[in-house]
């Protein structure tokens, strides 16, 4: 009689543990997931998150587990989850995921992984505070900057040409001045002398 009760008790406890175990698998089951933000998290225009997977019972790091990270995103009035990145945990159970920086503040980060021995992926969601980024990340590049080759060169060329044209205009004024100020005898004498030599002149 006592053995039967004991057996029933043991089975129920086993069942209870199994129920607890099954119930807990919606959360972390036998794996603990820790998402941490390293110090230099937003260096070089990417956010970095460290995802550490350990076995729940003894804290043994779980290596070579494929891990995907998701976040909630909203754009153009549409909300949905987006995949940030995926990688595999290393020997110490740490997966380093780099992705495009999210805005500053708390984000619901979901980690999806397949525990060793399981066939279905499991998801854990934690809230992570990210520092965000303040400076512009995207730089549009077009063109090559060659020092000295800019519009000032064009301005200089155009200005030079117009300065020379101005000097030509000045000559016209000089002609008019010469016509007003010359005296008759000097010019007449000069002309007679030149006529005799028959020399040709500027043209």
């Amino acid at each position: 009689m006592k053995s039967i009760v004991f057996k029933v008790f043991a089975v129920s406890i086993a069942l209870g543990v199994a129920v607890f175990a099954l119930a807990g698998s919606a959360g972390a089951s036998h794996v603990t997931v820790e998402v941490s933000v390293p110090d230099q998290s937003t260096a070089g225009g990417t956010d970095t998150l460290l995802v550490t997977l350990r076995s729940a019972d003894r804290g043994v790091p779980l290596a070579s587990v494929a891990v995907s990270l998701y976040a909630d995103a909203s754009f153009g009035g549409v909300d949905s989850q987006v995949e940030l990145g995926q990688t595999v945990t290393d020997q110490s159970g740490v997966a380093v995921v780099k992705f495009h920086p999210l805005s500053a503040g708390d984000h619901q980060i979901s980690v999806q992984y397949v525990s060793p021995g399981e066939s279905q992926p499991e998801v854990t969601t934690t809230s992570v505070s990210l520092p965000g980024v303040t400076s512009q990340l995207y730089q549009s590049t077009a063109g090559v900057k060659i020092p000295g080759l800019n519009v000032w060169l064009l301005i200089a060329v155009v200005a030079t040409v117009w300065a020379v044209l101005l000097s030509v205009a000045w000559r016209v004024i000089a002609i008019a001045h010469a016509g007003a100020e010359r005296t008759a005898p000097e010019a007449t004498h000069g002309k007679r002398a030149d006529a005799q030599t028959g020399s040709m002149g500027a043209g």
Binding site: V151, L154, I155, V158, V161, W162, V164, L165, S167, V168, A169, R171, V172, A174, I175, A176, A178, G179, A180, R182, A187, G190, K191, D194, T197, G198, S199, M200, G201, A202, G203
Partner: protein, 455 residues
């Protein structure tokens, strides 16, 4: 000396004749030109009312006759530069009787060309935006800068050597022409008396202008070609456009000069000064440039055709075999090869042959601008059927008015200004007689003055 003064007398009389006497044929001609221009103004008025929809241009082929004619006119503006400046720099004596016409063709064609750009605008009421908001990086602004610089420089270059002749007009025409013309001659001859100082000033100014105007002229048609060559359209995406267009400009400019020269020579009896020699020498230039143009064509089409990249195959089919075949082969054979032959063969190397060659060249060069513009647009950029372009009566009327304006301005010029550089021709003749080896532009020696020559 006696024959010299009789010859001189005849020269001056011939040069003064157009200004003092006007025949009825002249009035008929001017009336005809004004009619054509008037009709063109009406056509443009319709375009202002309804928009450019009255033309044949549409989204796919968005430039047509107007831009063709603009490029054509800017092209023939190189007549003056080549003849006057380059020949003056190289001290070629035979240029003297034709420099004035050449310089004037330059100025008139630049004005007509600039008009056509404005006519082509969708919003001509906003043309001042080009001045208020102009961007250095735009080929159109380069165009504006180059053309205004060239208009200024060629005005100076037309005006400076004309001063002694204007002084001659001032002195010889007193009482024989109307008051406003006398006022104009007195003003524009800037108190020319033919003094040593004045000759020196004018000589220095002309030397500066003639050296400066050559790079200006080269830059003008180069930047006009860059309106096409700075785009990514296959037939225009060529590095040789600048050089090719400048060669084409000089080519069409020389041809236009020959045609205008032949007409003015006939009408105003300039046979003694503009002889067969001038036609033959200009013909040599025409022939040389036709070879350069053939070379340009071969360069362009052989290099692109060898590779047959995207768009080239379509373009070759439309240009050599399809829509534009008639235009292209007329241009190549009728406008380049045939004129070259007419110059090359001794029995056509005379006034008639050269003038015939020039008429062919002028027509062919307009046709070349046309198919460059329209066929360039017609190559499809995305998967759609190619469009067609057909000019409408508005475009044809306005274009005709543009040509009529060109002819009218020359016609009016002849009535007011000396069409021959009298002092240069006289000087050339005298130096040939007295001292064939006399050095020109000798400093310190006053020349035979043209101003104040009273006989």
């Amino acid at each position: 000396m006696e024959e010299m003064s009789a010859w001189r007398e005849r020269l001056e009389r011939t040069a003064l004749a157009p200004v003092t006497r006007t025949s009825w044929a002249y009035y008929v001609w001017v009336a005809f030109l004004l009619t054509v221009i008037g009709w063109g103004i009406y056509a443009y008025y319709r375009q202002l009312q309804d928009g450019l929809i009255v033309t044949g241009m549409r989204d796919r082929i968005s430039w047509g006759l107007y831009i063709t004619t603009f490029v054509f006119f800017i092209g023939i503006s190189h007549a003056g530069t080549l003849i006057s400046a380059i020949l003056r720099v190289s001290q070629a004596r035979w240029r003297t009787p034709i420099t004035r016409m050449a310089e004037f063709i330059t100025l008139v064609s630049l004005v007509c060309g600039a008009l056509f750009v404005i006519i082509d605008l969708g919003r001509p009421d906003r043309v001042l935006n080009v001045i208020r908001y102009g961007r250095w990086q735009s080929p159109i602004i380069w165009d504006v800068l180059a053309i205004t610089t060239y208009i200024t420089a060629s005005t100076a270059y037309l005006f400076l050597p004309m001063i002694p002749d204007l002084a001659l007009f001032r002195d010889r025409l007193a009482g024989r022409v109307s008051g406003w013309r006398m006022w104009l001659y007195r003003l524009l001859s800037v108190r020319w008396q033919g003094t040593r100082a004045q000759w020196h000033s004018m000589g220095a100014a002309i030397t500066t202008a003639m050296i400066l105007i050559i790079p200006i002229a080269v830059s003008v048609h180069t930047v006009v070609s860059w309106i096409f060559a700075m785009t990514l359209r296959e037939p225009w995406n060529s590095t040789i456009f600048g050089a090719f267009f400048v060669a084409g400009a000089i080519f069409s400019g020389v041809a236009t000069l020959i045609v205008v020269m032949a007409i003015l020579r006939k009408v105003y009896h300039l046979e003694e000064y503009i002889t067969e020699k001038h036609f033959v020498y200009l013909g040599y230039l025409l022939g040389a440039f036709s070879l350069i143009m053939v070379y340009g064509n071969v360069s362009e089409y052989l290099t692109t055709g060898y590779k047959m990249t995207e768009g080239t195959e379509f373009h070759f089919r439309q240009l050599f075999l399809g829509q534009f075949a008639g235009f292209y082969w007329f241009y190549l054979l009728g406008g380049l090869v045939l004129p070259g032959l007419l110059i090359l063969l001794p029995w056509t190397r005379n006034i008639w042959g050269v003038v015939a060659a020039s008429i062919l060249v002028v027509a062919a060069m307009w046709v070349e601008r046309y198919f460059i513009v329209v066929s360039g647009f017609r190559v499809p950029l995305m998967p759609y059927d190619p469009s067609t372009y057909a000019p409408t009566w508005v475009e044809l009327s306005v274009m005709a008015a543009g040509f009529a304006l060109f002819a009218l301005l020359i016609t009016l010029f002849v009535k007011i200004f000396p069409i021959i550089a009298i002092w240069e021709v006289a000087e050339d003749e005298e130096s040939a007689e007295i001292q064939p080896a006399a050095r020109r532009f000798a400093h310190g020696s006053a020349p035979e003055p043209a101003g104040g020559v009273g006989r």
